[in-house]
Symmetry: C3
Subunit: 317 residues, 3 copies
Amino acid sequence: MRHFTSVHDFSSIGDALSKAKYVKENPFADHELGKNKTLLLVFFNSSLRTRLSTQKAGLNLGMNVIVLDINQGAWKLETERGVVMDGDKSEHILEAIPVMGSYCDIIGVRSFARFENKADDYGEVILNQFIKYSGRPVFSMEAATGHPLQSFADLITIEEYKTKARPKVVMSWAPHPKALPQAVPNSFADWMNCTDYEFVITHPKGYELDSKFVRNAVVEYDQDKALAGADFVYAKNWAAFNDENYGKVLSKDMSWTITSEKMALTNKAYFMHCLPVRRNMIVSDDVIESERSLVIPEAANRVVSAQTVLKEILLSL
Amino acid sequence: MRHFTSVHDFSSIGDALSKAKYVKENPFADHELGKNKTLLLVFFNSSLRTRLSTQKAGLNLGMNVIVLDINQGAWKLETERGVVMDGDKSEHILEAIPVMGSYCDIIGVRSFARFENKADDYGEVILNQFIKYSGRPVFSMEAATGHPLQSFADLITIEEYKTKARPKVVMSWAPHPKALPQAVPNSFADWMNCTDYEFVITHPKGYELDSKFVRNAVVEYDQDKALAGADFVYAKNWAAFNDENYGKVLSKDMSWTITSEKMALTNKAYFMHCLPVRRNMIVSDDVIESERSLVIPEAANRVVSAQTVLKEILLSL
Amino acid sequence: MRHFTSVHDFSSIGDALSKAKYVKENPFADHELGKNKTLLLVFFNSSLRTRLSTQKAGLNLGMNVIVLDINQGAWKLETERGVVMDGDKSEHILEAIPVMGSYCDIIGVRSFARFENKADDYGEVILNQFIKYSGRPVFSMEAATGHPLQSFADLITIEEYKTKARPKVVMSWAPHPKALPQAVPNSFADWMNCTDYEFVITHPKGYELDSKFVRNAVVEYDQDKALAGADFVYAKNWAAFNDENYGKVLSKDMSWTITSEKMALTNKAYFMHCLPVRRNMIVSDDVIESERSLVIPEAANRVVSAQTVLKEILLSL
C-alpha cells in the first residue's frame, strides 16, 4: 500500500479484515517494523480520537511520532497559487508540504471540507497536494469527502458484534445545529457497499449523498420503515450535497433523533456513531448509554484500523 | 496502587518516602516496566511543571507518553447530563472519557476548581468521572481540591533539607491579584498532617480551609507569631473556602507578602512555593532569589513524585 | 561544545562541515548517544521547520523529546525583574528557566527579536538568561539576532550544489509586508564570512546590517550589479537595523522581488530562502518552483545541522 485514502486501497474487504484481526490480537508484534521511521500527523482541524488513536498506532509499531497542528504554533498557510502574499498567511502550502515530507517517512493528514467550493472539496485539493508534493506515503485522517479509518473501525466493530452472516445495517441522518461535511457517511457507504450486508440509507429529502458512494444502496426516505428489522443503526448528521444547497443545513427536524422509541422499531439493533456526538440532537442519552451502544468499541477500534494501515504502508517502504 | 488522588493512596508516609528515594537514586532502573504502556496526560488547564515533569517521569519509565490539551486541538466538552447539545460543545465527557481510556494504560488529569459550584468542586466531579468511566488507573495532576504530586515533591524536599527530626513548617497565605483554588494548601496540609512535623497554618480571618485537610494543625491568625522559629515557610495564596464567600478574594493585604523582614523572624527558614509565583505579591525578589529558597529543588522533585506514583500504578496493572 | 549560538561555537567551518557530512550519511549511527537524555524545545514563537527538524534530529539520536509552546498550555512569563506581578503574567522567567532546566539535559530556545528595545534584542536577553539560569547546554532555534542552525543548513546545501571552489553568493533584501528580524541575514553573513566564497550583500539604502556580522563582505546597493555572475542568490527580507529606524519597514519596493528577469542576470544561480517565504513579494512563483530552487533541500538539511549540533553537545555532557 502506497497511499491510503479509501477502502479501495485494500485489495479486498476480506484482506483488510484479516490483517486487522492479526493487528488486534498482536498489537506489539511489529514493534521493530517502525524503528527509526517517523510518522508525522498534520491537523488542519480539531481531533480527539484520530489524534490519540493514530499516535498510539504509530507507537505500537515502534515509530517516532510527531504531531503538528497547523495554525497552532506553526505558520498560517496560503493554499492558492499566484497570490501576492501580503496578508496574514506567512507560508505557501507548496513549500510547506515538501518540507514536511522531508522530515518524516509517512504523513497523516486531517483536512475537512470547507464548504466554500464544492469542486475543491470533492476534488480533495489539500489531500491530493500532500500526495503530489510531499514525496511520502500519505494517509487520510479524515479528508474533505472521506474518513476511511473511521469506516474501517466501524466495519471491524460490526464484524465483532454481528450474529448473522448478513446483518441489516441502516445509516440514518439525524439533526445537528451546524453544517457538517459528508466525509463520514460517504466513507461508511463506500465500505458497506464492499460487504454483502443489507445496507440501507435513510435521510430527509434533499440530503442525498454523492452517487459515487451510495452506489446500489437502498435509499429510504421514511426513517421508521428503514429502521424496521435493523441489526445496526449508524447515526450521523451531514449537510446537503446537491449543487443548489451544497453545505447547507436544510433541516433540524428533531423527529429524526435516534431515541428508544426509534430503536424499538429495530431487531434489537446496536447503536453506532463515529463521535463526537451531540447528545439529544443525534441520539438520546438513554440510547447512547444503553448496553446496545457500540460507540466506545468503535472508537477503540480506531487504533486497530490505523495500525493496520500504517503497517501496510511500512511494509511497502 | 490503583488510582492516586491523595496521600492516603500510599500505605504510609514512610513507604512513600522510601519509594521516592529509590526512584531518585535510580531514575532509569525501571525503564522496562513501562514498555508498550501508554501514558495519557489530559490538561483542562495550563501547566508548566506538571506538563514537563510528568512527561519526564513516564519517559524515564520507558512509557509512551501522549499529551492532550482539551480545547486546544480537541473538541470542547459538555460535562452536564441531559443537555440538548446545540451549542458550541461538540462532545460529551461521558463519551470522551471512555474513549481516552481506550487509547492508554494510565491517565493523568489536570482540572482546576471552577468556583462556579462548591459542591461540584469539592465533589471532584471531573476527576471522579475519569475514575468511574475511563476504565483505567487515574492520577491527579492537580484537581479541584488537591495537588498531591506537588505536596509529595514538597515533602521529599523538606526531608532532604531538614536538619532536625521535627522541623517547624509554616504554611502562610499571601496576597495575589486573582482568585486561586485551595488545591495546593489543602494537599500540603493533608500531607503535613501525616508527618510528625510541627505544622502551623497562618492566614487572615475568613481564609479558613476545609477542616478535612486542616485536622489538628495549629491555625494562627498572626503571621509574625506563626513565623517565629519556623524552619520552613511555605507560601501560597488561595481564595476563600467558606460557603458565604466561596472562591472570592477577601484581601490583597500586602503586609502578608513574604519579605526579608518576615524571614528574619524565622529560624533561618527555607522558603518554599509550588510555583508559578507572583513576585512582589507572594514573595519579594530577594527572598525567592536567596540561598534559602527551595523553589527550584521542589520543582525538580516533581519528576520524582510523579515517577514514584507511576511506578506504583504500573506495578499494579 | 557546551552552548550553540553561532558559527563560532565550532572550531572551524571545515570541522562543522565534516561532522555534518558524517551525520547526513549515518543518521541513526549515534542512536545510543541520546539514550535516557531529554531534549526540551521551548518555543516563544511560531515554527514549522525548526519544530519538526529539531524533533527529528533528537529522535535520530535516541533522545526523549519534549516540546513546550510558551503561552499555549503553559503560563505567560514575566521577563523583567522587580515587577509587582499583579497583571496577566503568572510566572517569572527567572523561576521558569531553572525549572525547565531541571526536567531535561539539553534546551533549545526560539525567541525572536521584539523590536521594542534594540539593546535587549542585540543583547540576546532571553537566550542569555537560558544560558545563565537553566544549568543546561542551550542552543539557539532562532534568537533575536541569529539563526545559526538555518545558516549551517544553508552552508551544507551550498557545499552540495556548488560547482566551483569559490562560488559567488549574493544575499539580497526583498520586500515583505511586515517588519522582520535580522536574525537570518545576520547569521547567513556570519557563516559566509567564515568561508572563502565571494560574498556580496545587496539591499536598499537604510537597510545596512550590524557591522559585527557584515565584516568584510561587499555591500552593493544596486541589486542588478550585485546579481551579475551570482552562483547562489539568497533572498531575505529584514527590517531596518540602524538606531533611528530600528525595526521599521522603510521600503516595500517590488522592484527588489526576485523574478526570472533578475535571475537571468546571474550565472544560472541557484535560488535560496530559509522559508517561510511570501510568494510574489520575496520571489515569484516561477523562480521558487524552478529547477534551480534549493528551498526544499535547504529545509531538509535542517535535520542535519540540528543533529550535528545536538551530537556535539551530547558528546560534551
